[in-house]
């Protein structure tokens, strides 16, 4: 972007503001004049739109016209050399012309408000379509790149293979050596870490939620809730080096004191720290659903002679259960998409193991590892990243859909 284009954009802004201000005051003047002629009292039906709507109408139209000129200029290459002066001239003429034409239209009968509303409506639709199209584009690119990958490596070998060593295949300069792209160890690692994380975050988060909603006094709640939510605001890279430099050595030291030798990087270290990270997800989502359980249900249980914990366990918890499951699923999808902590603390070796003290790798870590460093974007080694991404995407999507359906069904219940 060169200087001229920046100036042009500033010119557009100036024209838009000028058009808005000028035509608004024009409209106001006309309105006052008409009112004076009518003897100070104007029929509501004889002046359709407030003055500012005439201003907005002009403003939007000026944006539209000047942007067309702007884009046309860019396409014609007018931003340098001899094109600049005609470009500026056309821009000013078009802008000022639009302002005057709009000014001419100002009258009691001109439905500026309707047009502006309709325009804003259309704009909002266009913006949301852009967001949807972007998502669609990402999915399609994932899909197409994955298909390219599956041309060299069979889908089944990828999804159900037990051998993950994409780097070897590259070094041997072999394309899609069979067995090298088996994703099971990678997904197993993701799953193992997710389990560790949920084993931490599930019970703790739920207990916190129950404590905050049912037992804590308003004063305690006021301080504890934000304090827990701060956990969610800590950058994941900070969790990552906390896991790697503080927690992992502690785990190793602990295991060594029992005579076991374990690697520094382990599923346990990454999983526990990730669990801490997602505690606030579980606790704040579940405390919302527990709060949504009507007080009348608790009263009903108390009135039958249930104790506080019986009420909690048998009435409030069961009533909130679908919502709590939903909260857990959202937390899980957060956990399996998490990258930084596992990249730093879990390791990169694709071990197929259920032992949390061993180093494992995850889908996200492998994607980062495959795409960083010098790589050829057409080799299966890089394309497999898209396949991994696609599967991960499908899993989290399913989790989210299921979670939301469960939560929604539960909402309709009382």
């Amino acid at each position: 972007m060169n200087q001229i284009t920046v100036y042009m954009l500033m010119l557009i802004c100036a024209l838009v503001v000028a058009g808005f201000v000028y035509n608004r005051s024009q409209a106001l003047t006309k309105f006052r004049q008409m009112r004076a002629e009518a003897g100070g009292k104007l029929e509501l039906s004889s002046w359709h739109s407030q003055a500012s709507y005439h201003g907005y109408f002009t403003g939007w139209l000026v944006i539209f016209v000047t942007f067309t000129v702007f884009i046309a200029g860019l396409l014609l290459g007018a931003q340098s050399g001899g094109g600049v002066i005609p470009w500026v001239a056309v821009m000013i003429i078009a802008g000022v012309g639009t302002i005057f034409l709009c000014g001419k239209k100002i009258s009691g009968g001109f439905r500026a408000r309707t047009y502006v509303e309709r325009f804003v409506h259309g704009l909002l639709i266009v913006l949301s379509i852009i967001a949807v199209l972007t998502t669609l584009g990402i999915i399609l690119s994932l899909l197409f790149e994955s298909l390219r990958f599956f041309k060299s490596v069979p889908f089944m070998d990828f999804l159900f293979g037990f051998q993950w060593s994409p780097q070897t295949a590259l070094r041997a300069d072999q394309v899609g050596q069979s067995g090298s792209f088996g994703a099971i160890p990678v997904f197993a690692g993701t799953f193992l870490i997710m389990l560790v994380a949920m084993a931490i975050a599930g019970p703790i988060g739920l207990m916190i939620a129950i404590y905050l909603t049912e037992y804590a006094s308003a004063g305690v709640r006021k301080w504890v809730k934000p304090a827990i939510e701060i956990l969610a605001g800590v950058p994941t890279v900070v969790y990552g080096f906390f896991a790697l430099l503080t927690f992992a050595p502690f785990v190793r030291g602990f295991a060594e004191s029992f005579g076991f030798s374990v690697p520094t990087q382990s599923a346990l270290a990454a999983g526990v720290v990730m669990g801490v990270m997602i505690i606030p997800f579980v606790s704040s989502l579940s405390s919302d659903v527990i709060n949504a359980v009507p007080q009348t249900l608790r009263d009903g249980a108390f009135a039958l002679g249930a104790t506080e914990s019986e009420t909690m366990k048998q009435v409030v918890f069961t009533a909130a259960l679908p919502g709590i499951i939903g909260a857990f699923m959202l937390a899980i999808s957060r956990a399996i998409g998490e990258t930084m902590i596992v990249y730093m603390a879990a390791g990169k070796a694709a071990n197929l193991t259920a032992n949390p003290f061993e180093a494992v790798t995850t889908v996200t870590v492998q994607i980062v590892a495959l795409l960083t460093g010098d790589s050829d974007f057409d080799s299966p080694k890089t394309l497999v990243a898209f396949a991994l991404g696609l599967v991960l995407f499908v899993i989290t999507l399913l989790l989210n859909v299921v979670a939301l359906t469960v939560v929604r069904r539960y909402r309709a219940k009382y």
Partner: protein
């Protein structure tokens, strides 16, 4: 001075919400069998007073009860008395039916289970059936005991929670405007049910419907601004009240 037939004897009962005194010293004796109705304008303290009988006020922050309430001669606000056990003896039905989001069966079985009233599945089944029959709901739900209690109609839900309350065999049933969310047919069924239950239970009902109080109750208490204004046989209250306030209220001159 204490009526020996009374289920509850209240002496100088005051209830405070924080600094606000909602009841200014109530003296009343509630008979053991039969229906006692509490009437009075909105905000006069009927619900507050009703909740003192099963100590549901304990669950409200800042609510204090003073004075004496004897149930069968024993002080229910005695420090050694467990409110949980009291509530098993004094059941309550709320204004809005509040079935638990569980199956119809589990709704009824909830109380018996937590109090360990039955020792076998068959016994529990029988108790559930008996409670539903007494509440006049059995025929309507006997084929769908496994379905959620929240799926029933409002009137059925209200009878469900009554069945739930009688499943723990309480001695007293407190009802706070139990018919306010019901249509006339469901209300009639409910009143018939109360008529039947009063043979076995002490029932206290809060209602805004004069006609309902006149139909179902044996004794009526009229409250006004935290005071018990008049308490007498229902017939007497509705035909020949001794207090002008009562007269005005039941004839609709104050609200």
């Amino acid at each position: 001075m204490t009526d020996t037939n009374a289920k509850f004897s209240c002496r100088n009962v005051k209830v405070h919400y924080g600094d606000f005194e909602a009841l200014h010293g109530i003296d009343i004796d509630i008979p053991d069998r039969g229906v006692t109705a509490f009437i009075g304008p909105s905000g006069c303290g009927k619900s507050t007073f009703l909740r003192t009988f099963n100590r549901m006020n304990d669950t409200i922050d800042g609510c204090r009860v003073s004075g004496k309430i004897l149930m069968d001669g024993n002080d229910i606000y005695n420090k050694n008395l467990d409110p949980v056990l009291l509530r098993a003896r004094v059941g309550m039905v709320f204004q809005k039916p509040n079935p638990f989001p569980k199956s119809i069966y589990d709704n009824i079985a909830f109380g018996p289970r937590i109090h360990g009233l039955t020792s076998s599945k068959a016994e529990l089944d029988a108790l559930v059936e008996k409670s539903l029959r007494r509440a006049g709901l059995w025929d309507e739900v006997k084929d769908r005991l496994k379905l959620s209690g929240t799926g029933l109609s409002g009137g059925q839900q209200q009878r469900l929670v009554i069945a739930r309350a009688i499943a723990v065999s309480p001695e007293v049933i407190l009802m706070d405007e139990p018919a306010s969310a019901l249509d006339p047919i469901a209300t009639a069924k409910l009143e018939a049910l109360i008529e039947e239950l009063k043979e076995r239970y002490c029932i206290i009902i809060v209602t805004h419907s004069m006609a309902q109080a006149a139909r179902v109750s044996d004794k009526t208490a009229f409250f006004y601004m935290g005071d018990l204004v008049e308490y007498d046989a229902t017939e007497k209250i509705f035909t020949n009240p001794s207090n002008n306030r009562t007269q005005d209220y039941i004839t609709g001159r104050t609200g």
